[in-house]
């Protein structure tokens, strides 16, 4: 079986490994501290750790897209912005 058509590159591989590692880490966290730490944050509905991770990732993707579309192609700044956003999400949502 030939998987050359999937055209893996190191950056995309690292990207996916990071995502899967995050999900796995969430799983381990959840296994040892079950319940997902539900709370009602500024969005005024109940979220768990997993929800907050999802909101962070989805929001970050849009931050990066907006940066790319509106500012320029240097994504390090928007990446920093995304991390700040993720911290805010985990703190307040």
């Amino acid at each position: 079986m030939n998987f050359a058509w999937m055209a893996w590159t190191w950056p995309t591989a690292i990207f996916f490994i990071t995502i899967f590692a995050l999900i796995a880490a969430m799983g381990v966290w959840e296994y040892f501290r079950p319940g997902g730490d539900p709370r009602v944050g500024i969005l005024r509905f109940e979220t768990t750790r997993g929800d907050r991770l999802f909101i962070s990732l989805l929001g970050s993707s849009f931050i990066n897209l907006a940066w790319l579309g509106l500012v320029d192609t240097n994504l390090w700044w928007s990446l920093a912005l995304s991390v700040a956003y993720a911290i805010l999400v985990f703190r307040y949502v």
Binding site: N2, W5, M26, E30, Y31, P34, G50, D51, F54
Partner: protein, 309 residues
């Protein structure tokens, strides 16, 4: 874990049932004349049948025109404008039933649709049971992830699917289309079945286990008959969405497993003008759907009532 943190969507049926009857009649001082007047006002108007009738006429007109055309010769279709075929002919249908490249399309479609329905329902049954009975690590996220696949545009997946199934040497086989359609049918089947299963009290499971039933035996002998209408509804919707889908089915097939829908589009682009045969082919694609819908009409309302489409 309390009830309030479960995805409420899982509780559709229970919710619809538990509406308290408490909002029922306030026993106001009863005045016969007033009540009669109000009854009249609250009633549906006498002409309300007009609305569904007009709507159904609107729905039927284009279908009628297709059926009408399928019984005409091409000369009549192009040359004159008649509301009924002046000399009805079955030639168009004969073309389809005698030409292998036409009728094989129907056979191919039926094969992969049935395969898909069987696979989808078979894998969805245990999963739906798990979602309706247990809480487990990451269950809610898993459920949402499944649903996003129902929402994902097939256009995004068409090309990678082609590559993926080429790598496994499955292109132009029925199983490839059946598996690809699982992408949106399995989540749907899980969603529908989960709703029906939540309506079955848990005491039944527990009693069966106490009586010494093993899980597989309990599931097949006791549980599945209880949710048979749910299985019917799930199978119906899997059949429906697999039957109507074209983009993925067309991308993954070339000749051997080509569905009827794609036979039609290719014939249009190739010869372009055989309107009669095209219409006849169209009419024949409506018939399986119409038959299926007739047999499950009572279940559909129930499936829709659960809001799990």
């Amino acid at each position: 874990m309390t009830n309030s943190t479960q995805p409420g969507i899982l509780k559709g049926e229970a919710m619809m049932r538990t509406q308290p009857a408490a909002a029922a009649p306030k026993r106001a001082p009863f005045d016969e004349a007033l009540a009669r007047k109000m009854r009249r006002r609250g009633q549906k108007s006498r002409y309300s049948w007009l609305v569904p009738t007009l709507y159904i006429i609107f729905l039927m007109l284009p279908i009628y025109w297709l059926v009408n055309m399928s019984f005409k010769t091409n000369q009549e279709i192009l040359g004159s404008f008649t509301l009924f075929p002046s000399n009805p002919t079955l030639r168009n249908y004969m073309v389809i039933f005698t030409d292998y490249s036409w009728y094989s399309g129907y056979i191919n479609s039926i094969i992969y649709v049935v395969m898909n329905t069987v696979i989808s329902v078979a894998v969805a049954l245990p999963a739906a049971y798990a979602f309706s009975r247990y809480r487990f690590l990451g269950d809610k996220h898993l459920f949402f992830w499944l649903l996003t696949n129902r929402m994902a545009p097939p256009a995004v997946f068409a090309l990678p699917f082609l590559q993926l199934y080429s790598a496994f040497g499955l292109v132009d086989t029925h199983i490839a289309v059946a598996l690809a359609h699982c992408l949106f049918n399995v989540p749907l089947a899980v969603w529908i079945l989960e709703g029906f299963m939540s309506g079955v009290p848990k005491e039944i499971d527990e009693t069966a286990y106490i009586d010494g039933y093993s899980f597989p035996r309990f599931f097949v002998k006791i549980f599945m008959p209880l949710i048979s209408s749910g299985i019917g509804v799930a199978a119906f919707f899997c059949f429906m969405f697999s039957w109507v889908e074209l983009l993925i089915a067309r991308t993954l097939t070339t000749t051997a497993a080509k569905p009827i829908a794609s036979t039609m589009t290719r014939t249009v682009s190739a010869s372009g003008l055989d309107w009669g045969v095209l219409a006849a082919a169209g009419v024949l694609t409506i018939i399986p759907g119409a038959l299926v819908i007739y047999f499950v009409r009572n279940y559909i309302a129930k499936g829709f009532a659960l809001g799990r489409v």
